[in-house]
């Protein structure tokens, strides 16, 4: 066997200089030759640790082998057995913490680029123009409602449809996809790709109804009269603010608002699209997660001269993916670590013009295992800003818990559901994704959708709760 290249086959991307002026996707993806070259780095372990690291248990060596053999059609077929959204997962999964972290190669060199290969296979299928629709099981006559067309709901719906159930997928917004369409920007996940994956779910037989707010348009109890089971995957939609003086000044956004305007409503194309967005010149994004990176990079593309990340801990504690931090650094996002905003100052018309911050230092580790940030007294300083994006997290959306009295809810407003089955306190009602766990990742939500589908199928067969 030839010597293994210690590094992943590089994926060509737009230069930082070029890409900050557009919303197009940053990496271009592998060519067939590059994909085959990367696939050949895989050792085809007999006991593949990578599979154990994947929340949806994809046969990783299997699909990689197919790519190495240039049987791309088989590669996508193997992927889709476990993952109905491969083009999305190949792009936004934190592979470095999952499959690639477990890859045997990673002990001595860079792991196999599993995510890049997954993306390649999915894009290859899309470019080929032919999508294989798996054969459906015999129809069961059972009706299932899915609330929320984000990652958890899409996977649950796809799995249940393939198991022969009649599935209706309700979405409150006017477009399906959840965080994939309203949250993650075009330059990280092109919306045409999301659309393609949703069309695939529809081809599996799922009926999609948008602009339907479960809780308001109809309650869970009303839906239970028409459906045999319900899955709730409504996500973590309620944005947090810091309750600082001046936080309601004009120009201060939640990351949700900033990203919904830009992504879902296409405000970056204003006035061709009707929804406006403030195109700030001095933009500060508060937070250290992927959503913060997305917001700061969006601000650059909207024309900011200076886009800053304000984070109260240091770089090591940042929850964002390494790749996203790296991309942000390349794009000259300015990082202000160990910095805590405490107050905003506005101009005479109510627009934010300055933020006051405190410097922090790191103390003992806290409950999250990360070193706790402590304020340094008398370290106040001001940063001039005209736009602020608050990206410090979000909690579960309360609309359904509020309108479903017998659904048990935790102290953070999350729906209580069994980790292994997705079953809630209410018979016939399942839940999974961020509405249960609080804000987490796309793939974890997908995993929860898969687990709930298995358990729901069982419930519909046996009637045992």
């Amino acid at each position: 066997m030839a010597k293994i290249n210690p590094k992943k086959t590089p994926m060509i991307e737009q230069t930082a200089q070029e890409r900050v002026k557009n919303f197009k996707e940053v990496p271009f993806g592998y060519s067939e030759e590059q994909a085959v070259e990367e696939a050949k780095r895989c050792l085809q372990c007999k006991k593949p640790f990578c599979v154990a690291g994947c929340p949806v248990e994809i046969d990783i060596p299997g699909f990689i082998k197919a790519i190495a053999e240039k049987d791309f059609k088989n590669a996508i077929k193997i992927l889709k057995k476990k993952n109905v959204l491969p083009a999305i997962c190949g792009r936004v999964c934190p592979q470095e913490d999952q499959c690639e972290k477990e890859c045997v190669l990673s002990k001595k060199m860079e792991p196999v680029g599993i995510g890049r290969l997954e993306r390649f296979a999915a894009d290859w299928e899309a470019a080929s123009g032919e999508t294989d629709i798996p054969e459906k099981h015999v129809l069961t006559g059972k009706r299932v409602a899915v609330v929320g067309a984000g990652p958890a709901g899409l996977v649950f719906a796809g799995d249940m449809a393939q198991l022969g159930h009649e599935v209706t997928l309700f979405e409150a917004l006017h477009k399906a996809g959840g965080v994939l369409v309203y949250g993650i920007p075009e330059f990280r996940l092109p919306k045409a790709i999301v659309q393609r994956e949703i069309e695939y779910i529809e081809k599996l037989g799922v009926k999609l109804i948008t602009s339907f707010v479960v809780g308001n348009t109809q309650t869970i109890d009303e839906l239970l009269k028409e459906y045999d089971a319900i899955f709730i995957g409504t996500g973590a939609g309620l944005p947090w603010f810091m309750n600082l003086p001046g936080e309601n000044l004009n120009g201060i956004y939640s990351a949700n608002e900033y990203l919904v305007r830009s992504n879902l409503m296409k405000a970056y194309l204003f006035p061709e699209y009707d929804t406006p967005i403030v195109k700030g010149k001095q933009v500060a994004t508060i937070g250290g997660g992927n959503v913060a990176m997305d917001s700061a990079r969006t601000a650059l593309r909207l024309g900011a001269d200076k886009s800053m990340i304000i984070y109260r801990r240091s770089k090591t504690e940042m929850p964002a993916r390494i790749e996203e931090i790296h991309h942000a650094e390349e794009e000259r996002i300015q990082f202000e670590f160990l910095t805590l905003p405490v107050k905003y100052y506005g101009d005479e018309n109510g627009w934010v013009k300055e933020m006051e911050c405190l410097r922090m230092e790191l103390g003992e580790p806290d409950a999250s295992g990360r070193r706790r940030p402590i304020t340094i007294p008398n370290s106040e300083f001001r940063i001039p800003v005209d736009t602020v994006v608050v990206a410090i997290g979000q909690s579960p959306n309360p609309l359904i818990p509020q309108t479903t009295p017998d659904l048990q809810v935790g102290k953070h407003g999350n729906i209580i559901a069994d980790e292994k089955t997705g079953r809630t306190s209410k018979k016939g009602v399942f839940a999974g994704g961020d509405i249960v766990t609080g804000a987490a990742t796309v793939i974890l939500a997908m995993g929860a959708g898969r687990i709930a589908a298995k358990s729901c199928h069982e419930y519909l067969k046996t009637g045992i709760w």
Partner: protein
Amino acid sequence: MVKISKTQELAQNIKLFEFDSPLIARKAQPGQFVVLRINEPGERIPLTIADAKKEEGVLVIVFQEVGKSTRLLGTLKAGDTIMDLIGPLGKASEIEKFGTVVCVAGGVGTPEIFPVARALKQAGNRIISIVGARNKELLIMQEEMQSVSDELYITTDDGSYGRKGLVIDELKRLINENVKIDKVFAVGPVIMMKAVSETTRPFNIATVVSLNPIMLDATGMCGVCRVEIDGETKFACVDGPEFDGHKVNFDSLMARLKTYIREEKESMQLFSKHTHSCTCGGK
């Protein structure tokens, strides 16, 4: 796609639309609102529900053509469709027997307060309504308000109908005449709702106002509609839209409503350039 079943011009630039929307109509309660989106590039527009005919499955809204989106909406006819109608959203009005309730409405606040006044009347309240408009031509839904009110007072800025003056003058008159008022509902321009709240505050008359901040998803997701209530931030879309008028920071609301004034102008100019001859009647 949602079909428009009827359109009617109530006054210049004020239109009433009926939509075929049985699900929303069945659920709609006084004080709630909907969000609509006209077409693919369209924005999400929040509009208060003016009426819901549950048996016919018809939802009624009344809107004033003020910006690009409402102008465009105004060009649609019965039989046309819009992309999305979402709702009912927000909390319903608190309807119970308070005693004597004064319903104060200005401009397009009138169709918005109408279902609230009707429900309050049905709950056994004595309803005194005060309706204001700039002039006689802009006065709308007078008959409907008459039908649910024990007393109805009308004011116009120019005196062309009813009493000359503002709704606030009538409210002050009632208070000065020692009419026992148990509750006030006010819907209309922010400046009017602020004035009503300031008028009732010294007399401790409970006052409910319906706030109209900028909204986007209107389901609690984005926080653009945040309003300051008693020093605390609330989301008007899920915590409101009705709040205790004595606790609202109206100045913050007014400032926030001006966030996109420049963009609104730009949009409007573009729209006028494209459609000049057909929407404004040469005015």
